[in-house]
Amino acid sequence: MERKSLLFTAFIYASALLLAVVILAPVLWLFIMSISPAADLSAKPLRWWPQEVDFSRYAVLLSTVENSAGASFVASLYNSLRIAGMATIAAIALAIPAGWAVSRTPAVGWSLSVVIATYMLPPVALAVPLYMGLAWLGLLNNIFGLALVYLTILAPFTTWLMKSGFDSIPREIESAAMIDGASLFQTLRIITLPLAAPVVATSALFALLLAWDEFFYALLFTSDLRAKTLTVAIADLAGGRVSDYGLIATAGVLAALPPVLIGLVMQRALISGLTSGGVKG
């Protein structure tokens, strides 16, 4: 290997550091805001580090006293978890057979393209039809209704991802399983799905994040604690006459935690390269 000059090495490290700072600085600032006293946040010149560390807002948001800001926040956190979870599970359950079918039957590939094309529509174009549809079904302000709407967004996306995942698994392996006497379902369960596990995990993670972060439909289709999601709850915090930026920041930190934790847990599943060795590569 060619030896790099010291200057070049320094340049590489400096670039990496810069990238890390650009990505991490907002997150760090969010956290600092969440633990700064209100006075520090409006002080001039700006204080980069609070005079005293103040964790009280976390207690406020996580309190379970009835009718408090905390109860409302916790309820929306729970709603978000359930809605995003349901939508993701349903999307993956749909995407596995659909993606497999499209991957192994090129003749029906056009159908996926048509579905993806609808994905190109801006959400606002679908807002009114979806609202009317949900109203007719009686699913407005209902977590199942919102999960259903999210499913329509997630399913094409996850199917597309799963299809490319299945495409990378050699068909010969499935032919071999077929000759060996495995049924379609056995082939999928014993051979194909374990090989596609990294793609399934990736799809699930992205779908979850997409549903977790969605704001527009959630704002339109929910109105109170029964279905309101985190993103809407955070917006509500900012909507009053007096905005406590610290509280918004705290909500932001708390809202980021579940996806981060899930991401960490799934990291192992995301490691790909499981297919190596089955066929000559």
């Binding site: 032919s175 077929m178 000759i179 051979i191 374990p194 090989l195 060795g277 066929v279």
Partner: protein, 361 residues
Amino acid sequence: MSALEIQNIRKSYGAVETLKGIDIALQSGEFLVLLGSSGCGKSTLLNIIAGLAEATSGDIRIADRSILGVHPKDRDIAMVFQSYALYPNLSVRRNIGFGLEMRKVPVAERDKAVQEAARLLQIEPLLDRKPSQLSGGQRQRVAIGRALVRKPQVFLFDEPLSNLDAKLRLEMRTELKRLHQMLKTTVVYVTHDQIEAMTLASRIAVMKDGRIEQLGTPEEIYNHPATLYVAGFVGSPPMNILDVEVDNGSLSIVGSDVRLPLPERFRPAASDGKQLALGIRPEALRLASADQSGGHALPARIEVVELTGPELVATARIGQQKLTACLAPRAKLGQGDAAVFLFDDDALHLFDRASGRACLA
């Protein structure tokens, strides 16, 4: 009763006909090699036998039972793929036993069969590994083992050795031959390697453009090629093909004044003035010398001499036509030398230029 009967199989993809009526009948225990260059339809034919593709028309019978429309798992076949197609997430043991597992064979019986196959293939120590932990040759053995445990009526091999390096290919070839001699199962084996075909086959079907050019034993294919294509495809270096014209009962080599007598057996097919192709295998040629004479003589000028080790390959010209000869390594030859090659009468082949078919007596 035939173990495998292929009757007038045709296959079209849209307007393109890749198989144009294939007929083969195999006795039990035969080793049939489908030989041809890529795109000749040999893999398509194998896939049709396996049930991975459907024939457009025709019938395939295994043990006198039509298997068209029968699911691959019920055809009593096992297939070894070019890419091995092992299940990467399962252990070698489970890979080999998978067919039995799917057929709900009891665990004890399955384990015994897997052990037996592993012993035959000498991969017993590898049973608990994953395919990714194996070398190419070991993976190939596992793939064969997976086919072996099923004890099928017919084994199908799709270029199983083409992913191996040269030395390993040689080893596995011998191994396959040993296995076939031991198990005596009917085999259909696809390859584009004529050495593999010659060494393994009990019969070879040379295919070209979706048709069988010639079906015969390796000896027949080598010694009596039915067409120019077969003559050129089998043998390394390939058979010399010289343009000749029948002239007054003898063969005149086009572009030179060399004449050869027309052997008696070709007389009915070779009328005067006819354009023919003369075939002589490079290894049938020998250098004329004081103690080497007799047979037909071909004077030529040497252009290139290559020593491969066991033999000396000389490329020469007769007029404008090229001639290759495989000679003893000690032959004294140099570039530009004039040499006379001798060959026996029965080494001479004649083909009709227009149809490409052999002129047989």
